[in-house]
Symmetry: C2
Subunit: 211 residues, 2 copies
């Protein structure tokens, strides 16, 4: 398997965690987003979406969208499971994941921040306020959902898809100096995850293309 990705891309980071949790080896192919490598012909020939992560399977099949890739990995390599066995549990884990992947991250990724600055002429302060606003709102929802069913990780005592989404978002939040106070459950889950080698090894600073 090849994972086209970027050390700082949090959607890439999600997939790296899942691969590590599953103990799956993969080739790390860096695509430098800040230099626009995702728009170069070689990468565009692989995926019309022009986004990382892009997973290329050994049979040449290519998968996009981090949550879809992780669910694929979970279905084809069931152990350890990244989704609970019960439908209600799966719904909760997917909802937690989507709080990050649909409510926070899409608003704060690189191409959106560039649009704010280049097209909407947002100042640096305005851009940072925007970033912090959506992080805060989303993580407050996450915190409230954790209160419903406390556990070591986001759902129970083993890491799930939700943790694969949460941890990269916290890294981003820290990089942008977001207020993470008042989120004790969320931060305890983050800390528990970062005790695990699978999360440590996947973090941006541990990537071959880290700067």
């Amino acid at each position: 398997m090849k994972l086209y990705n970027y050390f700082r891309s949090s959607a890439s980071f999600r997939v790296r965690i899942a691969l590590n949790l599953k103990g799956l080896a993969y080739d790390y192919v860096p695509v430098h987003l800040a230099k626009g490598e995702q728009k170069q012909p070689e990468f565009a020939a692989l995926t019309a979406e022009g986004l990382v992560p892009l997973m290329e399977l050994d049979d040449g099949q290519r998968l996009t969208q981090s949550m879809a890739i992780i669910e694929y990995l979970d279905e084809t390599h069931p152990q350890p499971a990244l989704l609970p066995a019960d439908a209600a549990g799966r719904a909760r884990v997917r909802a937690l994941s989507q709080i990050v992947a649909c409510e926070i991250h899409p608003l704060n990724n690189l191409r959106v921040l560039k649009y704010l600055v280049n097209d909407l002429k947002a100042s640096d302060d305005a851009k940072n306020d925007w970033y912090k606003h959506w992080v805060r709102l989303g993580l407050q929802s996450y915190e409230a959902r954790l209160a419903e069913r406390p556990g070591t990780y986001s759902h129970g005592d083993t890491p799930t898809l939700a943790d694969c989404c949460l941890v990269p978002q916290i890294f981003n939040a820290q990089r942008f100096d977001c207020d993470l106070s008042g989120l004790p459950r969320t931060m305890a889950v983050f800390d528990a995850c970062m005790q695990l080698n699978a999360f440590q090894k996947a973090q941006p600073s541990a990537c071959p293309d880290a700067e």
Copy 2:
């Protein structure tokens, strides 16, 4: 089952389609987003996320996030299936769904547009350009993915989760007068879906709270 939703919310529309495709009856509980009813205490007591759709099951359990709700419905009411039987097919359907639900819709929902206008002081034109930009970019990706594997619907000859996501997005795009030229496969899938009663009945103008 109760579905707390709003006629114009495209994430709500996705779930209405899925319920109709499954032939499941539900109580329609309107939450008027434009009037801010999702921030009122009665609704906030039900869900910390403050978002529609919110699905309340007969046992009182509440589910959030449209894609998670639809996957739950598919797991608990398997026929007709809204996800393919094979892992690769499921990955493709989820990726298509996420092109809409993670790349387009989060940037264009009501609270984001309000932030652009109220906080970033974007003009009406700038707001509309933003809207159209993300719709166009996302739908071009969608179109390219459809070209890989042509079918009546987004994936094969029966409607899937991907169609539940695509159709509401096209409704929104039309409402904001977005350029939908050069998307023949996407629009043919949209037209095929709209031949079906399940999609017709779910559309905003058919909802009890339609204005």
